[in-house]
Amino acid sequence: MALLELYHYWVFVVLLMIGFYAVIAKLNLIKKLIGLSLFQAAVFLLYITMNKVEGGTAPIFTDGAVDQLYSNPLPQVLILTAIVVGISTLALGLGIVVRIKEEYDTIEEHEIQEIDRQ
């Protein structure tokens, strides 16, 4: 059971590295951005994993419940913010990619470098 509980952290690590791999190894700019959002999603998972309290429930009070354990609200707040930051970055990144496509007619990193070298 202990291993099963660590599984959440491992998934965080594996997702993080899948995303990281995509960002550094892929040359297509959109693929890089997809990788970047996977990378960030992994961090969301890390924080949300922390917030869980065994036997607890979502930190929204229910009427009449006494001695109810609640999960930690703070990581949730942080991740709400982080998700918004993530989508903002993504939107900006995509805007830049669209402009790159217009200017260079390609969104492959090595081809752009090729064009710039000329």
């Binding site: 509980e5 660590l6 599984y7 959440h8 952290y9 491992w10 998934v11 690590v13 594996v14 993080l16 899948i18 990281f20 995509a22 190894a25 892929k26 040359l27 297509n28 959109i30 693929k31 997809i34 959002s37 996977l38 999603a41 998972l45 949300i48 994993t49 922390m50 309290v53 036997g55 607890g56 429930t57 979502a58 930190p59 929204i60 009070f61 229910t62 354990l69 609640y70 999960s71 609200p73 703070l74 949730q76 707040v77 991740i79 913010t81 998700i83 918004v84 930051v85 989508i87 903002s88 993504l90 939107a91 900006l92 995509l94 805007g95 990619v97 402009r99 217009e102 969104i107 090595h110």
Partner: protein, 325 residues
């Protein structure tokens, strides 16, 4: 038992992630990342993070899918096979993975109520919310009041992204594109989506308002509401065409909303300052501190909602307008 469910969901998450990275069809990759978001959101839900689950679904599966698709429409949807430093990247990544996994063995056990993280600040939030703010949703209380400054920052992040995309895509294009009028037409000629969509749009708008104002009591709040509201308008644009959507809410309104929401939020903060409290102190907004907190949270959530709607729609229109060059 939920741990076992999580196990399956998490495994699916990894499978999806690998598939996303490996697949060369970007269109498929975007669809898969929509699925990824849904899975992630389901996981969040299992981990008691209802608000986050709601947001992740609205953002990951909804907004970012639409954004990716708009970008793909203007660029390309096939990733070229290219020489890459794959082996080195794989080695680096594998090494880091092993190191990180090794370090996790000392983490506090998953869900242990005695872990330091649950002992220090969290209980205080739960208690103080009951006394000083008196709304059931602690997440909203923390978001709106205890860490309202973070949320202000968050609104300005969205605001920055909004003006950023407007700025970048407002640049004169390198070359004129051929005009295809398909977009402006929308899906109007397809009967089923059109009828269903028309029926649904008002309900979605209504639901967005519900999410906005029910945020104190259940999962939801300004950001989620803004995203849903924007999604409704985007749906309208998909069905009736860009032009009609812009007629419904013109661009100048969107800019005004973008700025207005951010200003509303800041104004609440400044009001706290003027009334003798600190910045973002809502207690001074009314005679009764608790009532003041209620007013403050209501107003700032409205500010968040307005800005998010404005920004997301501006971004959507900026992408769509670029396409028709």
């Amino acid at each position: 038992m939920t741990v076992v469910f999580s196990f399956f969901l998490l495994t699916m998450l990894i499978v999806t992630a690998i598939a996303i990275v490996r697949i060369r069809d970007l269109f498929a990759a975007v669809m898969l990342s929509g699925i990824f978001s849904l899975l992630l959101a389901a996981n969040f839900f299992l981990l008691d993070a209802a608000d986050v689950a709601l947001t992740e679904a609205a953002v990951g599966a909804g907004i970012s899918t639409v954004l990716f698709l708009s970008a793909l429409a203007m660029t390309t949807d096939k990733e070229k096979a290219a020489p890459s430093n794959r082996i080195i990247a794989l080695i680096v990544v594998t090494a880091m993975t092993l190191a990180l996994i090794y370090s996790t063995f000392d983490n506090p056990a998953f869900g242990d109520p005695d872990a330091p993280i649950h002992q220090h600040v969290a209980p205080w939030y739960l208690e103080t919310t009951r006394e000083a703010i008196d709304i059931p949703n602690v997440v909203t209380a923390v978001l709106g009041s205890f860490r309202g400054y973070d949320t202000l920052g968050e609104v300005f992040v969205v605001f920055t992204a909004g003006i950023g995309v407007l700025f970048i895509l407002g640049a004169p294009s390198g070359k004129p594109r051929q005009t295809t009028d398909l977009h402006s037409e929308g899906l109007r000629h397809y009967l089923v989506p059109r009828v269903v969509g028309r029926m649904l749009t008002p309900f979605i708008l209504l639901f967005a308002l519900y999410v906005q104002f029910h945020g104190d009591y259940g999962p939801g709040g300004g950001f989620q509401a803004g995203a849903i509201f924007a999604a409704a308008i985007i749906l309208y644009a998909l069905l009736e065409g860009e032009k009609s959507a812009l007629e419904a809410i013109p661009r100048s309104w969107l800019i005004a909303m973008t700025a207005g929401g951010a200003l509303l939020y800041s104004a609440v903060g400044v009001a706290g300052m003027l009334l003798g409290g600190n910045f973002l102190d809502y207690s001074v907004l009314a005679d009764n501190p608790v009532a003041g907190q209620h007013i403050g949270i209501l107003l700032i959530e409205a500010g968040v909602g307005i800005t998010v709607t404005g920004v997301l729609l501006s971004i959507f229109h900026a992408f769509a307008a670029r396409d028709k060059f």
